[in-house]
Amino acid sequence: MTFTFVEGATSDVSFEARGATLPDLFAAAAEALLAATLANPEAVEERVRQPLALAEPDLELLLLRFLNELVFLRDARGLLLHAHGLAIEQNGEVKLAGELAGEPIDRARHRLEGDVKAATAHGLAVAREDGGWRASVTLDV
């Protein structure tokens, strides 16, 4: 499970995430979002937990919705979150279930850097690669 920031749309932040499985891929994308938000994502402790369940017509829209859930929870409720124990089921529509774990923003410990406005659909891709999965995402910052 990894992610790398890559050059993309000039004003924005683009990343590629990789995972052996789809749940790994989505968790990696959540980590990339966290890394775009604060300089020290490792400082986010898992003090609060909340369940998450989403359904969309395809994998790309599911990833978009998943990342935008995390953006909403940070901006509206001040929560910095990792994703755990995700399960993704593809049966007609695509469903995600799992848990988000993290804590409220604490400016004394969290070095906030980027105010991600949204995950965009620009160049959004989820594809199989070398027996695993790869996703390309552009964030509007």
């Binding site: 000039t10 969309e56 901006d75 509206a76 980027g114 105010d115 949204a118 965009t120 659909a121 959004l124």
Partner: protein, 485 residues
């Protein structure tokens, strides 16, 4: 790829790519730029503008302003007008930060009076106008009050005592887009926006104290009408938008459009960020009504920020804001879609004009302009980088070629990531201070992303808009104090 081979010059600062450059183009791409700006343009701008040219109902051309650069979906600096019967509305053609815009405020103060108090002013503004990720505002609104803001825009703010009727007169559309319907807005958008009125946000948003040097005046006559009428005059400029509220509105509808676009409307787009719906569809009408809510939230936001600016100046100088001559020159949006009347092939038509990182620039005599500016044309505020200064311009009759639109800023030339590799925020801060520009930044990394070298030459952009006939330069304003989001 470089400059596409099919690009041909059709005007002094205007280039065209005919349909055929990319499959499915319904109209040409037209790029307003000088030769130098064109040579430096991102390859992807041509591709993105061509993608926009494939959308149903697009009229005349897919346009790029001189500050255009690679964005998500539409290019930043993109303008596209759509027929109301056959055309579409696209959240990606407006941007997530709906009604991100600029406000320019004049004062009676001269630089000599402000200079000894500059630190107090910038620090006071940084306290009064929260900036940076997740900073909430000073007004705790209920959702019911926020709904009133969404309907009324800046008029709500003025009614609550945070401004004057003149502020509204000198705001685009009087600070309120008609057609806003809070019932088309999600609870999530309300939750995200409820505490954000009066905040600057982050990224490239800023609040600056600037000075008009004598050599910065391009048009003394228009400058006087716009209230820039004193030697070494101090002005205030700020750049921000509809905050998380607008971002959520755009997100909600982008996702909704993506779900139904192929099945319900049979629409296919070359990039999913171009998701759209027919203007006349339920989805299209509801997005427009929600987008107007976000535009109104943004006008109200900038109005409240102006009130805080007045409070800070008043406190620092011990005089009433009116006695300091603090008045709005103009407030103008650069991320919107608006129904406007334009001449197309000699016939007047109603079009939905998308401007994403592009400023409306109505010409002299336009009926929507306030009487004071009826003969000058609409003031246009182009925000430059914090190192190079900004411009005040005016709309021109020759701007009909762009549906009366012009540039909105300098336009980035490099990614945020690249900019961070080139300079450390701490070093940039020291460089700015050494030049006499006092900076308060919410994030040093964010400051590095906004270094002057990360942007095009704002002088070249402003000049190109003039050469292309889109707008006319009035004054160049230099920063002396900056609150960076």
């Amino acid at each position: 790829m470089g400059i596409p081979t099919g690009l041909r010059r059709i005007g002094p600062a205007l280039f065209e790519l005919a349909p055929g450059f990319r499959p499915g183009m319904r109209v040409p791409v037209r790029v307003f730029a000088s030769d130098a700006l064109l040579a430096a343009l991102d390859d992807q701008v041509f591709v993105q503008a061509a993608n926009v040219a494939t959308l149903p109902g697009i009229v005349e051309a897919s346009l790029c302003m001189p500050d255009a650069h690679w964005g998500y979906g539409f290019p930043i600096g993109g303008v596209a007008a759509f027929d109301v019967e056959t055309g579409v509305i696209s959240p990606g053609g407006i941007g997530f930060d709906i009604n991100c815009g600029m406000r320019l405020v004049r004062t009676d103060l001269a630089w000599a009076e402000v200079r000894p108090r500059l630190t107090d002013l910038v620090d006071g503004l940084a306290e009064a106008v929260p900036a940076g990720t997740g900073r909430g505002g000073s007004l705790a609104l209920s959702k019911r009050e926020l709904r009133a803001v969404l309907r009324e825009g800046a008029a709500w703010t003025v009614r609550e005592g945070y401004g004057t009727p003149d502020d509204l007169r000198f705001t685009e559309a009087g600070g309120c887009f008609p057609g806003a319907d809070p019932d088309c807005v999600s609870e999530r958008a309300l939750e995200r926006g409820v505490g954000q009125l009066g905040t600057l946000g982050s990224g490239n948003h800023y609040l600056e104290i600037q000075v008009l040097r004598p050599e910065g005046v391009f048009d003394p006559s228009l400058s006087r009408v716009f209230g820039l009428d004193r030697p070494e005059q101090v002005v205030v400029m700020f750049h921000c938008g509809s905050r998380g509220f607008g971002h959520q509105v755009a997100t909600d509808y982008l996702q909704r459009f993506l779900r139904v676009m192929p099945t319900k409307f049979g629409l296919e787009v070359p990039d999913r960020e171009l998701a759209c719906a027919p203007i006349s569809s339920t989805e299209g009408r509801e997005y427009h009504a929600a987008m107007c809510c976000a535009a109104n939230m943004s006008f109200a936001n900038r109005q409240l920020i102006l009130h805080r600016v007045r409070e800070v100046f008043s406190r620092v100088f011990g005089r009433d804001a009116a006695a300091l001559g603090i008045r709005t020159v103009y407030d103008v949006a650069h991320n919107t879609a608006k129904f406007e009347r334009h001449l197309v092939g000699g016939k007047e038509r109603t079009l939905l004009v998308h401007r994403k990182g592009a400023t409306r620039a109505f010409p002299p005599g336009h009926p929507e302009l306030p009487e004071a500016y009826r003969e000058t044309g609409q003031p246009v505020v182009i925000g430059g980088s914090m190192e190079t200064g900004s411009y005040l311009l005016a709309g021109a009759a020759s701007g009909a070629v762009s549906f009366f639109s012009t540039a909105h800023g300098s336009g980035r030339t490099m990614s945020r990531h690249q900019a961070r590799k080139r300079v450390r925020g701490r070093d940039l801060l020291a460089r700015m201070e050494a030049r006499g520009v006092h900076v308060r930044a919410a994030s040093l990394a964010g400051l590095a992303e906004e270094a002057g070298f990360a942007y095009k030459d704002v002088d070249a952009v402003a000049l190109a808009t003039e050469e292309a006939g889109l707008s006319h330069r009035v004054a160049h304003l230099l920063p002396v104090g900056n609150v960076k989001g």
